[in-house]
């Protein structure tokens, strides 16, 4: 049996704008998603903002009712058998909210343990165990309001493991964490996988998905546009090289001209305060460098690097360089 099965899932939001002249607008957050996630699999869902990742997760977590299609978790339908699903799942949405800041860490866990109907004798042992597992040992008696962002996020993990769910939904769990906090947190995710949990992870960070996930689906405009192992996705760009060029204040016209060159397969721009980083995907590898530089003639340039493609480059190619 698959841990999660999704068939042609769709979700439409109706939003109203305007106070006097109200106009209804339909937003198709999830257009058509079909997926199967196996038992014990760590599955990644990638996509740009607004692609439909969170909406998909919320439908699976019984928090949203699909507009069309169906989904089941451990064989139970997420609409008709919501209670059965709820006993078997845990979820975390990134960010600091969702905990009681005026209670201590232990009290938060005690509270949710009782809501999951866990016997007090059991939770008495389980809470210290979970606190230790997520690295909050000794901090459980402090008020959550005083926790750092990373600590809150780890408390979320402990909370969601109270009832020992088989399936976990982690929606951008490392968002807003500092690099060390994010690294520690990824270790927690790997620990969960080694406990044979089925995990659906959504994230913005490609290296995170590359390092953690067994398989990855890339979702854009509410549809799955690629589904493969990280290695398989990288095959999409295996024939390509990436030329990174640092520029300072290159105009839209110049970049557009570069993009239009026949040997450029995809081009994305990362803007920082001081400079732009142009990522040019090309089959010609290092040979393309003189032509690229020629197209940028007259611009102030920084370093130029030719490298092998990463998962991120595969992703950029899939969603059309619009990062």
């Amino acid at each position: 049996m698959n841990a999660i099965e999704i068939k042609q899932l769709q979700r439409i939001f109706k939003t109203h704008t305007g106070v006097i002249k109200r106009t209804a607008r339909e937003v198709r957050a999830v257009e058509d998603v079909s997926l199967e996630i196996q038992e014990g699999e760590l599955f990644g869902l990638l996509g740009p903002n607004g692609a439909g990742k969170t909406t998909t997760v919320k439908m699976l977590a019984t928090l949203l009712i699909p507009s069309a299609g169906s989904a089941s978790v451990k064989g139970f339908d997420v609409v008709k058998q919501a209670d059965e699903v709820r006993r078997r799942i845990g979820f975390i949405f990134g960010g600091e909210r969702g905990l009681y800041w005026r209670l201590t860490g232990i009290d938060n866990l005690r509270y949710f343990a009782s809501l999951y109907g866990i016997d007090p004798d059991v939770s008495k042992k389980r809470i210290p165990y979970l606190l230790e597992m997520v690295g909050l040992k000794g901090r459980g008696d402090e008020f959550v309001g005083g926790y750092s962002r990373g600590m809150k996020q780890r408390l979320h993990v402990a909370r969601t493991l109270l009832h020992d769910p088989d399936v976990l939904f982690l929606d951008e769990p490392t968002i807003g964490l500092d690099p060390v906090g994010a690294r520690d947190f990824r270790q927690v995710i790997l620990d969960l996988q080694s406990e044979k949990k089925s995990i659906l992870l959504t994230t913005h960070y490609m290296f995170e998905a590359d390092a953690l996930c067994d398989r990855i689906a890339v979702i854009d405009h509410g549809r799955i546009i690629a589904l493969d192992t990280p290695g398989g996705l990288k095959q999409h760009v295996a024939d390509l090289s990436v030329v990174e060029v640092e520029t300072f204040g290159a105009s839209e016209a110049i970049i557009g001209g570069l993009r239009a060159l026949p040997f450029v397969d995809a081009l994305s721009v990362e803007e920082t305060e001081k400079h732009q980083l142009l990522l040019v995907q090309t089959k010609r590898g290092a040979e393309a460098v003189p032509d690229i530089l020629a197209a940028l003639d007259g611009q102030r340039l920084g370093r130029v690097i030719v490298r092998e493609p990463t998962l991120e480059d595969a992703y950029i190619r899939l969603v059309g360089g619009a990062v």
């Binding site: 019984t62 909210r97 009681y100």
Partner: protein, 265 residues
């Protein structure tokens, strides 16, 4: 529903109530509503009713305590679901095997118990600050009345919260709903003073029957039948409230999942 499940829910309710009280101990608005406002009303009423004689002191203690009960039910229980939404915990609470009504029941229990403390404080104010000799004429019936009133208030609160969640417009009237209930329920003066057409409205409000029972058991000379009748009315209203509430909760949760209003984005 079997006994084991009920016992399990009861344990959950107690933990929810405990955690709710712990959180609210530090909230200024809640402390004001639960403690300060009823005490200020008690002080005012004790001065105002001075001329009526010392036997009215216990009437004021009970009545001002009831104002506190209603205000906390209206403001704190009324906002309890929205408060979870604002703190981002609503989604975790809904996606649980425990019915959401059970959780809100526990929160209401905390609020009602909490605001009963103002009645106790009012008792001390009247006894020590004003030097009144306070006696409860029928202590056993009074204790029973308190118990039944708690239940009636909680059940009534289970209707208010989902109504406020589903109709944001009604919530704007929250401030305006505080004093009319003080007026209509005879907390601090008999409803006979009000125009006759308001009497049926009073009869429809569970807090009115709580006031009849609690005033009746503290004031000497109330016939037992009157008290029993008030108990009966509270019981009937509680059953009706619970039935309506279970419908409202189903509707509310379905609507929230269909319209995507559980989170706060």
């Amino acid at each position: 529903m079997n006994a084991r499940l009920l016992l399990k829910y009861w344990r959950t309710i107690l933990v929810v109530a405990e955690m709710t009280i712990r959180q609210q101990l530090m909230d200024g608005f809640i402390i004001f509503t639960v403690l300060f406002q009823p005490i200020i009303i008690a002080l005012l009423a004790l001065w105002m009713l001075k001329g009526k004689g010392p036997e009215y002191a216990i009437f004021v203690v009970v009545g001002s305590g009831l104002t506190g009960l209603w205000s906390s039910l209206l403001f704190i229980s009324g906002n309890s679901i929205n408060a979870e939404r604002w703190s981002g915990t609503l989604e975790s609470l809904v996606a649980l095997p425990t019915p959401f009504e059970v959780i809100v029941f526990g929160k209401n229990l905390a609020n009602v118990i909490q605001s009963l403390s103002s009645m106790v404080l009012g008792y001390f104010v009247a006894a020590f600050l004003f030097g009144y000799d306070l006696t409860i004429s029928q202590p056993l019936y009074f204790a029973l009345s308190i118990f039944i009133s708690i239940f009636a208030f909680i059940s009534f609160g289970l209707i208010i919260a989902p109504v406020f969640v589903m109709n944001p417009g009604v919530r704007h009237w929250q401030n305006a709903m505080e004093f009319p209930v003080y007026l209509l329920c005879g907390f601090l003066f008999p409803i006979a003073l009000l125009p006759g057409w308001t009497t049926p409205i009073s009869y429809l409000l569970p807090p009115y029957w709580a006031a009849v029972a609690l005033h009746g058991t503290t004031t000497p000379g109330t016939p037992p039948n009157e008290i029993f009748f008030a108990w009966g009315m509270m019981f009937v209203f509680s059953v009706i409230d619970l039935l309506i509430a279970s419908r409202l909760f189903k509707l509310m949760l379905y609507k929230a999942r269909a319209d995507a209003t559980l989170g706060m984005e």
